[in-house]
Amino acid sequence: MQLFPVRLTDARATRRGKTLVGPVDLVLGGQGTTVVIGPNGAGKTTFLRMLHGTARLGSGRIDWHCGTEEARHHQCFVFQQPVMLRRTVLQNLVYPLRLRGVARAEAEARARDWAAKVGLSEMLDRQAPVLSGGERQKLALARAMITAPQLLFLDEPCASLDGRAMREIEEHLQEARAAGMRLILSTHDMGQARRLADEVLFLLHGKVHEHAPAEHFFTHPATAQARAFLNGDIVE
């Protein structure tokens, strides 16, 4: 099943008649990591949600290579504030597999493997909502990756995490990328963007101001706003 390329044509995310993001005309290919950056209120989260299908597409089109319905089955989303099911860590990991009809024994075995990968083996029986911020984010990441999606959206996955937790999350993302998973993530952290990005989408006022390979964007940003943003200036 091939998700990419995905083509956005005059796509707008709207709420109560107001355009939050768009119009966006864009084609995203199927390799590597796309990092979405931009100042607060630029529409990064809404852009990710629109692409994922959880924000209302007011007008325009988003065409996945395999079709929208099929594409939804092969992608996952990790939220900035990870949502924990009111269950144990193990049950949180088992949940998406059970939804897909995986037998309980196999689901638990895979859940234990993933818990070990992200360093949560000792916490399998703990209630997920009482975990620390870093642990919750790792659990959310493992829960998203356990179904081996082709595409993973991450909305500021390391916001409010300390350096060590951030490094661990980034290592998992690098591994996933190396294994062929397509990543689209938003971040405020330019260091993280430089470490992870293969291509960059710079958003401003709900519009894509720049879409460029990471190396090119960070060395030769095409617009004055992108240059100002990279310099740490206030962009309006």
Binding site: H52, T54, R72, H73, C76, F77, F79, V83, L85, R86, R87, Y95, P96, L99, R126, Q127, P129, V130
Partner: protein, 234 residues
């Protein structure tokens, strides 16, 4: 005051000696109320979950109606059920009037809005918390409802217990549709009403204390089985 002490002593004695009539009435009370509770919960809890996750045109009206029906007067419910089950009514042919089944039907009607309304508040809060995750996981409506019901089960237990409390203490409706027939439809509340009418206050109080004890015991048992109030659990 003398009646209260006398009632307490009599209640103690009735329980200690396992008075046959008391046991029969108490067991019937439990049978009717627990049956009504199970049926009402099977209707009310999925309904509450559906109202939380499903958007339809009259949703707000249905929720408002459900809240309003929490205060449904039991006597009126009893009367309506009576009309439906009486010989000349649409379901008269079933011969259910003055049977425990009629009492269960009345109790179900009384407690469904209460359980659904209380449950809806809890499930709605949980749905707000889970909304983005479950939508992003592309879950079906059925999977959403099952997830919400399971993860809010402890709060739902409280909703059901509120229904149990209302049903076990119910007298007006079940008096009308049950008829308080000895060895057939007499339960603790109707027996209390009968003894009070006869001026037998001490026995009425004794039965009242047994009723309170029964309600507390069932609540504690369900809480213990549901493992509520355990640290770190919901």
């Amino acid at each position: 005051m003398v009646d209260i002490w006398s009632g307490l002593a009599q209640a103690f004695w009735l329980v200690i000696t396992l008075d046959a009539e008391l046991v029969e009435i108490a067991l019937r009370s439990l049978q009717v109320t627990l049956s009504a509770l199970v049926i009402a919960s099977l209707i009310a809890l999925p309904l509450a979950a559906l109202l939380a996750v499903r958007r339809f045109r009259l949703r707000r009206t249905v929720i408002a109606l459900l809240n309003a029906l929490m205060g449904l007067p039991p006597v009126v419910v009893g009367l309506i059920v009576y009309v439906f089950l009486s010989r000349s009514g649409p379901f008269g042919v079933l011969g259910l009037l003055f049977t425990p089944t009629a009492m269960i039907i009345a109790q179900v009607i009384i407690i469904v809005p209460l359980i659904a309304s209380v449950a809806h508040q809890s499930i709605r809060d949980l749905w707000q918390e889970y909304h983005d995750l479950l939508i992003s996981m592309n879950v079906t409506q059925g999977q959403k409802i099952r997830t919400l019901l399971w993860d809010s089960r402890r709060a739902l237990l409280t909703a059901s217990l509120a229904g149990f409390g209302r049903a076990i203490g119910e007298v007006g409706a079940i008096m009308i549709v049950g008829g308080n027939i000895d060895h057939a439809t007499r339960v603790l509340t109707t027996a209390i009403a009968l003894e009070t009418g006869k001026g037998n206050f001490a026995l009425a109080l004794a039965l009242g204390f047994v009723l309170i004890g029964l309600a507390i015991a069932v609540n504690l048992a369900i809480h213990a089985l549901g493992q509520t109030e355990r640290e770190g659990r919901w």
